[in-house]
């Protein structure tokens, strides 16, 4: 079999178009920026009768050129994707990748179609689809979420096993056919092989499951911890606030990498310290939900115990199975449903530990601000308990900034996970997560680019997507 080129047979007519369009578009953008120094920034003019007229001149011309060139570029990229799905490896490496990603494309189209169709009924989420930036960010994030879900649950997208090595594929470039491929085996290494002759494409795809599984969950736990401690600190103030803020600043003053090096080593795992930290940190969701329900239904005992039972019993079982592990320091609970790999647990715990002080500070600041509002005073006059005011009056009104920060923080957690992988901490050495893959790939970077670049670009695009999503959400939540 022949080696694949990047665009295959599509290249003959689409590539020249791309090479013409990209410089033209870049030129148009630069021209528009330069023009914006001289021309007033108005593209439309309102007439007294209520109609709008586009103002002419070189300004609106440049704007129009840019829009059209941008649209042409988008259409071109879509052509690559769609024709790739149809033609597969006939359209080169990109075609092959595009075809492997078919379920993701379908899921993305369905998500966007449904969301845009019902956007007026979906609250803040629906408003996201009014902002281009937010939509791009959401698209990038959902792309990786779908990739992770389809790979993790159905094992669809990856072409090979992330760990299996194929002889003769060591450091081979992108699009090299597999030597001695058997029937039913994917005949190419789409993005080449790494220095242990593993498929780079499959490793990047499999790596996404690790990030998508850990990062949002760890951020959620950090938020539980931060909210449960930050609300009373901001609401009560005084000694409690001083103590908690001191502790938070203590952790924040630590260089993150030093903390990781101290916490995430096999020696520390042996002492059981991460497990003890887990016992404390993972208890916060229980406390949070317990107090949340208790403060709401305090006066209705029947409803109260029902809700408490529904929420707390599963949470408690999950908590107990989470912290218990056979053969480690903590194993007293007979109903141990699942075991978490000690390496993953320590990574998870330390990421939560690093993130929660920042969340604490944000929540504390918001609580201090909101507690001076009139509706809080009204609730106090009504005789509501402090925890009711904190969780049912202050927290819902702080949700805007918290949601935005949640998105940003998932991105930051992704970066932290990558850092851990980059230094070879915590995760098993052959793990396909992006940080570890970048670390392995960088050693031969001056000769072979293909093992290090795909995970780097993957991580970049996911974090960029989260940041853009946060930006879009911020813009839209400020608008009301």
């Amino acid at each position: 079999m022949e080696d694949l080129t990047w665009t295959g047979s599509l290249g003959t007519f689409l590539d020249p178009l791309l090479f013409v369009l990209v410089p033209l578009f870049a030129l148009a953008v630069v021209a528009r920026i330069l023009l914006s120094f001289f021309e007033p920034d108005t593209g439309t003019q309102a007439n007294p009768d209520g109609t709008l007229v586009a103002t002419g001149g070189i300004w609106s011309l440049s704007a129009r050129i840019m829009t059209w060139l941008g649209a042409a570029l988008v259409v071109l990229v879509l052509l690559y994707v769609v024709l790739g799905v149809v033609m597969g490896t006939g359209a080169g490496i990109l075609g092959g990748i595009s075809q492997r990603l078919t379920p993701v494309w379908i899921a993305l189209i369905v998500t966007f179609w449904v969301s845009i169709h019902f956007k007026r009924r979906l609250g803040l989420y629906g408003k996201l689809f009014d902002s281009t930036i937010g939509m791009i960010g959401f698209g990038l994030v959902m792309f990786w979420v779908f990739v992770a879900v389809f790979t993790g649950l159905f094992d669809w997208i990856a072409t090979h096993d992330a760990l299996s090595q194929v002889s003769g594929m060591k450091n081979k470039g992108p699009g090299i056919p597999l030597r001695g491929a058997e029937q039913g085996e994917y005949p190419y290494y789409l993005l080449g092989g790494d220095n242990l002759a593993r498929d780079v494409f499959s490793r990047v795809i499999k790596g996404s499951t690790i990030v998508i599984a850990i990062a949002p969950l760890a951020t959620l736990f950090a938020f539980m911890v931060g909210i449960t401690l930050g609300l009373p600190a901001g609401y009560y103030g005084g000694k409690l606030d001083t103590l908690l803020s001191f502790l938070a600043n203590l952790i924040l003053a630590f260089p993150v990498i030093l903390l990781f090096y101290l916490l995430v080593t096999p020696e520390i795992v042996l002492t059981g310290l991460p497990q003890y930290m887990g016992v404390v940190l993972f208890a916060f969701p229980l406390i949070f939900f317990g107090v949340l329900i208790q403060s709401r239904f305090r006066t209705q005992p029947e409803k109260n115990s029902l809700w408490l039972a529904i929420v707390l019993i599963p949470l408690f079982l999950a908590y107990m199975s989470l912290i218990n592990e056979d053969g480690s320091k903590i194993s007293f609970w007979p109903l141990d449903f699942f075991d978490i790999n000690a390496g993953i647990l320590v990574v998870f715990v330390s990421v939560v530990f690093v993130n929660s002080p920042t969340v604490f500070r944000i929540v504390r600041g918001l609580a201090m601000d909101i507690k001076t509002r009139d509706y809080v005073a009204a609730a106090q006059t009504r005789g509501e308990r402090p925890w009711y005011i904190m969780l049912w009056e202050i927290l819902p009104n702080a949700r805007g900034p918290l949601i935005v920060d949640f998105c940003l923080r998932i991105g930051y957690t992704t970066i932290l996970l990558g850092t851990l992988g980059f230094f070879g901490l915590g995760l098993p050495p052959e793990s396909p997560d992006w940080g570890s893959t970048i670390n392995e790939g960088r050693k031969l970077l001056s000769i072979y680019l293909h093992p290090a670049l795909p995970p780097a670009i993957a991580l970049l695009s996911l974090v960029l997507g989260l940041n853009l999503l946060a930006d879009g959400l911020r813009e839209e939540s400020l608008r009301d």
């Binding site: 953008v29 528009r32 920026i33 914006s36 120094f37 920034d41 001191f246 600043n249 203590l250 924040l252 003053a253 630590f254 260089p255 993150v256 990498i257 030093l258 090096y261 101290l262 916490l263 080593t265 020696e267 520390i268 042996l270 002492t271 310290l273 991105g411 970066i415 990558g418 850092t419 980059f422 230094f423 940080g435 970048i438 670390n439 790939g441 960088r442 970077l445 001056s446 000769i447 072979y448 680019l449 290090a452 670049l453 780097a456 991580l459 970049l460 974090v463 960029l464 989260l466 940041n467 853009l468 930006d471």
Partner: protein
Amino acid sequence: MGMFILRRVGVMLLTALCLTFLVFYLTNLYPNLEKLAKTQGNFRMSDEAVASWLEKGGYLQPTPVKYAEWLGVVPSYRFEAEDGTVTGRCILPGMEASEAPRYCGILQGYWGWSTVFRDPVSEIISTRLALTGKLMLWVMLLMVPGALIIGVLAGMREGSPLDRSLSTFSITTTATPEYVSGVLFIAVFASSAVGLKWFKGTATSAMENATFENFFLPVLTIALYGMGYIARMTRASMAEVMTAQYIRTARLKGVSFPNIVLKHALRNALIAPFTVIMLQFPWLLNGVVIVETLFNYKGFGWTLVQAAGNNDIELLLGVSVVSVIVVLVTQLISDIGYVYLNPRISVT
């Protein structure tokens, strides 16, 4: 103001004490000590041999005692072997036991002995810190003006194409951690695969002789990650100032737009970024560790990785003391500077 600074310094000392104790505790957990003994002795040591090695080094005392010794408030441990030779923390190689001082800790100016580099910790830290200082200086020189210019240009006309493209740029840089941008830069500018080869992929030679060719990539990699964040803060602050009443007044008076930006808006818009820049130091420290590892520049961050990887307790403590002090001092400066720059805020 005096009281404020005094109180902050007190909290700072307390924080530093707590943090160093934490590092001390974590590095002195038994599995870590065992690893230390095995790397220093040999890897096939029996458990008894490990215990006696640790006993000889005084590692088996209770942690608070060891910590007090390290601080220099308790006379340090001495071990007398059966043949009468005395060894101890204070007795440096080639020194008689009778000449050595009884107390040797941070308070006496003795930072300890690095087991990895086999040098006094203070010496290692000062040379490494100087190298990182050079790196940081260039990072600051590139990052701060760059970020401020981008932020001011983007914020002076909110929503303009210039603003949008610069904002996209700054979001992209904040979303690119150092290990990603570093890898991308090396791939594009330094590898033989692309063939540009404008810069060098390692900065080892920059330790003695920093040139544009071998030093620019590491500097750019650290600077870019911080730049986006500062630029966004500057943009927000600038955009807010540009909507203020006095700017409108100046405009109605007929002041030209460049004059408004430079003479009226800029001064007020730069207060908020100042704090942000100072608070960037802890993040820069992270960036330094990654970039020094990536570009093999043997500075402070590289030392941290070496010390932590080999459980070199005293070096690690020295490194954490220095980094914690850097973080806390910059926080203090940012607080004082904020009060000084913004007369509306008072500390009392």
